[in-house]
Symmetry: C2
Subunit: 236 residues, 2 copies
């Protein structure tokens, strides 16, 4: 399997997805010409608008983008895709759409069969066994908590350590600890903004300028530096 | 109905629940002697620990606290309660417990019948028609999104306006806009920390030092000042 799982799309001082461009370039390696874009996480703008937004950064990489929402037969479009790209937004809305349209299985099958997968934020959440480590507001019934399960661990995208000054709510770490209390066999990767996980077969690498924070039940959290070998996580 | 719905329990420089003490005192009015505490939102500590934590502030108000988790017949305990208090923690865990134990209906019936209700954070989320405007991580299957529906609008507790510097994720307001896009007939009250809503029959008052932020589909958000008359929301 080949996966690029980004924490998020934006970085201060960079264009949309620009921070990840060198890694996208090396991941796609000039071999891919067309990307099938899954726009269902967007809520307050149209699917067409979302396709327009991602068209530009992918065009700079030499790829044409087509929106899955325009496909006459979405399951067939997934099976035929050269590359599957799942954008961020609201994870609940995305999961509901994938369930409603019967797309979880076809995407899982395609990616396990070798189709490369790029996701950011909600698109990284749904690559996990469940999307229950999302930060998003549960605006709709997702019709099930199961997700694609392309990796065996959970990702918390946009991971932020600690609270803004004065804020009294639970920190992200406290919420992840709650998740692990209820799901003690899971591993959660807190993926900071501007970082990504790259899976190439049985290799897993953290790319970016910041460490990731790893959480397991009953252990102290630990920080993993970019470039470090994370392949043990793929067996978790 | 008589409700006190707090955004949260803590405020910098104050003891646990201390910021709300004057309002709690006036709400309880020396008439109530025993509080039935619903501790199910807590995840990483025990229910007994949670009861101990709330015992002190309520004792200072002249009340004894008993934990619902210790009741031999929880539904009967709810029906017999002088006061129902629902603590914060993880809203999903709380909703799951209330569904599993068949307590949604008994609590709803008791409060509609006149038993006063005090909740904070998750305890305010479940007082709404659904708890889908929670900030919490969906660590467990809640067995349904329906909640107590004691008020006809949604609350977003710990409401925080804007993002911490540099953070690229969606703001709370953007998430609430997504909720309204999917649920256009709802009203959402962004309840800032250190503020609460007090319902006395058909009167609704905002108490605290900060305004609340009101969201409706298709309208600009508006700020409502403490002390303002919010009774129109009860008809929403």
């Amino acid at each position: 399997m080949r996966l690029l799982l980004l924490s998020n799309s934006k970085k201060s001082g960079f264009g949309y997805l620009e921070w990840a461009k060198p890694t996208l370039q090396s991941f796609l390696g000039g071999r891919v010409r067309r990307a099938l874009f899954v726009p269902y996480a967007i809520v307050t703008r149209s699917h067409d608008d979302y396709v327009e937004l991602v068209r530009r950064p992918f065009r700079e990489l030499g790829l044409e983008v087509e929106g899955l929402h325009r496909a006459a037969e979405p399951q067939a479009a997934v099976a035929a895709a050269e590359l599957i790209v799942v954008g961020g937004g609201n994870t609940w809305q995305l999961a509901r759409s994938l369930h409603l349209l019967g797309l979880m299985d076809p995407i899982r099958r395609a990616v396990r069969g070798g189709t490369p997968y790029v996701g950011w934020s909600a698109g990284s959440n749904v690559a996990c066994p469940t999307f229950q480590t999302t930060n998003d507001m549960p605006i709709v019934d997702p019709l099930g908590f199961d997700a694609l399960g392309l990796v065996p661990f959970q990702i918390n995208p946009h991971y932020l350590h600690g609270n803004p000054p004065g804020f009294q709510g639970e920190t992200r770490e406290e919420r992840i600890r709650e998740y692990l209390e209820a799901n003690p066999r899971a591993t959660v990767v807190g993926l900071r903004e501007g970082t990504l996980l790259r899976v190439e077969g049985d290799a897993l690498e953290l790319v970016g300028d910041e460490p990731a924070r790893l959480f397991r039940h009953g252990s102290e959290a630990c920080e993993v530096q970019p470039g470090g070998d994370l392949r043990a996580l793929l067996g978790s």
